[in-house]
Every structure is written in C-alpha cells, then in structure tokens.
C-alpha cells in the first residue's frame, strides 16, 4: 500500500517537472512548478520528514511561487505567443542531458548502498530543533546574516532611481 503511494507521488512529480520545463507560457511554468514542489513535499512526508514538508509548502509554494508570479506579471508581454521561448540549442542540450542522465543512473545502480533498508529513526521535531540550536548553530546564524544581506540588496537593486 505505501509503495503505491510512493509510485503515485513519483510519477506525478516527473510529469509536473517535465511540464514545467516544456510549457511555452512562463506563467504556466510557475503553476506547474507549484505542483512539482507540492509533490516534493509529498516525498518528504513519505520519508518521515514532516517538518521539512511543511517548510517546503510554506516557503516554496507560499513564498517563492508568489514572487515568481509577481515577477512574471511585472515584466509585460512576457507570455506573448509569437515570441520564441527556446534558443537554438534544444537538440544538442537534449543529447547532453540524456548522456548525463545515463551516467548518473549507472553510478546510482552500481553504488554499494543502493539496496539497503532505512537505518535512521525518524527524528522528532524537538530533536531537530535541538540539533539546529546546538550542533549547527553557526551555519544557522550565517543563514540569518545571508537573508539580511539579500533583503538589503533586493531593496537597493529594485529601487526606482529618481
């Protein structure tokens, strides 16, 4: 039963990701990206990382997708049907991506830990927060510094100069 859940989520994830890349209109791209990110949060829930799934929905689907929609709507005639949406490198880059995928699959299949069973106990939210505040405190603080810098930088770059 749980296997069927995984296959359903994985199949929908693949379809949505493909549609994200190939659809012409950029606004449709953003909508398909939202569905892709929801499927990925389903994968997180399936793996027992519930907190990460909730964060994925809040930050990505709630925040970043809104940002993308605003950016698409602020830059007009962006979804005009007459304008070509891909460059002239579609066939060479398709071949390159296929070769890359082949080698990635080859490496994954031949790896020694390919068929092991899950070993880690599911980490509770309390343990996760405790390790975030003790062991990984330094990167946590650096992330807050980074977010401050990004906020200031976005305001400075996006300001209308008089």
């Amino acid at each position: 039963m749980t296997d069927i859940t995984f296959y359903f989520i994985a199949l929908s994830l693949c379809v949505f990701a493909f549609l994200t890349v190939v659809s012409r209109d950029v606004f449709h791209c953003a909508v398909w990206l939202a569905l892709t990110l929801l499927s990925i949060s389903g994968i997180y829930f399936y793996l027992g990382a519930g907190f990460l799934g909730v964060i994925q929905i809040l930050v990505y689907v709630g925040g970043i997708i809104t940002l993308f929609v605003f950016a698409i709507k602020l830059t007009a005639h962006i979804g005009d049907a007459a304008i070509r949406q891909t460059n002239e490198q579609v066939i060479p880059s398709g071949i390159v991506v296929l070769i890359l995928f082949y080698f990635l699959i080859k490496i994954v299949v031949s790896s020694p830990w390919a068929k092991i069973d899950p070993q880690a106990p599911v980490l509770s939210l309390k343990e996760l927060g405790a390790s975030l505040m003790t062991t990984y405190l330094l990167p946590f603080e650096f992330i807050s510094l980074l977010l401050l810098a990004v906020m200031v930088g976005a305001i400075v770059i996006g300001r209308v100069k008089k």
């Binding site: 791209c29 460059n87 880690a120 996760l128 992330i143 976005a154």
Partner: protein, 102 residues
Amino acid sequence: MIPLNYFLILGAFLFCIGILGVLTRRNVVGILISIELILNAANINLVAFNKYLGTPDGLGQIFSLFVIAIAAAASVVGLVLVIAIYRNGKSVYADQYNLMKW
C-alpha cells in the same frame, strides 16, 4: 519498503530536467524556475540519505533547510535583477542581454 535507489533515480531525473530547462530557455524567469528544480533534486537526495544511511543529528534534514533558505535568497536576488534590467532595457530574454559587453 522502497529501496534508496529509487529516490536517487528520482533526484537524478529532476536534476536532468532542470539542466535541460537552464540550457534551452530564453526567458530569464524560466531559467530561474529550472534552477529551483535543480536545488529540489539535491534536497530529495539529502533527505533520502538522511533516512537510509543514518546521518548524525538529522544532518540531511538540516542541510535541506539551509538549501531551501539559500534557494529563496537566490531567487529573490535573481528576480529583482530581472525586474531592474527589464526597467532599463525592456527585455527578459537572456540572449538579448548585453549590458556588460563592450
């Protein structure tokens, strides 16, 4: 239970789709959307390794949190740059950007 293999193949597929989008799209917003796909492929791998290999202190999950935060920061800066360049040059297509060429 699903073996670790399947999650890694799923991540590889998502990564390759994202690379295809970055290489072929003309629209800069579309390129940023494809970059989000690549970062999420890395996240799937991190969470799957955390579950299957037993990393200490939930290292995989915490690194995924950091990746999500950095992805949000990156897309904010990218979209603001697109809007600023659009205000100057009225274009959103990557092959028409020549501001830094001389």
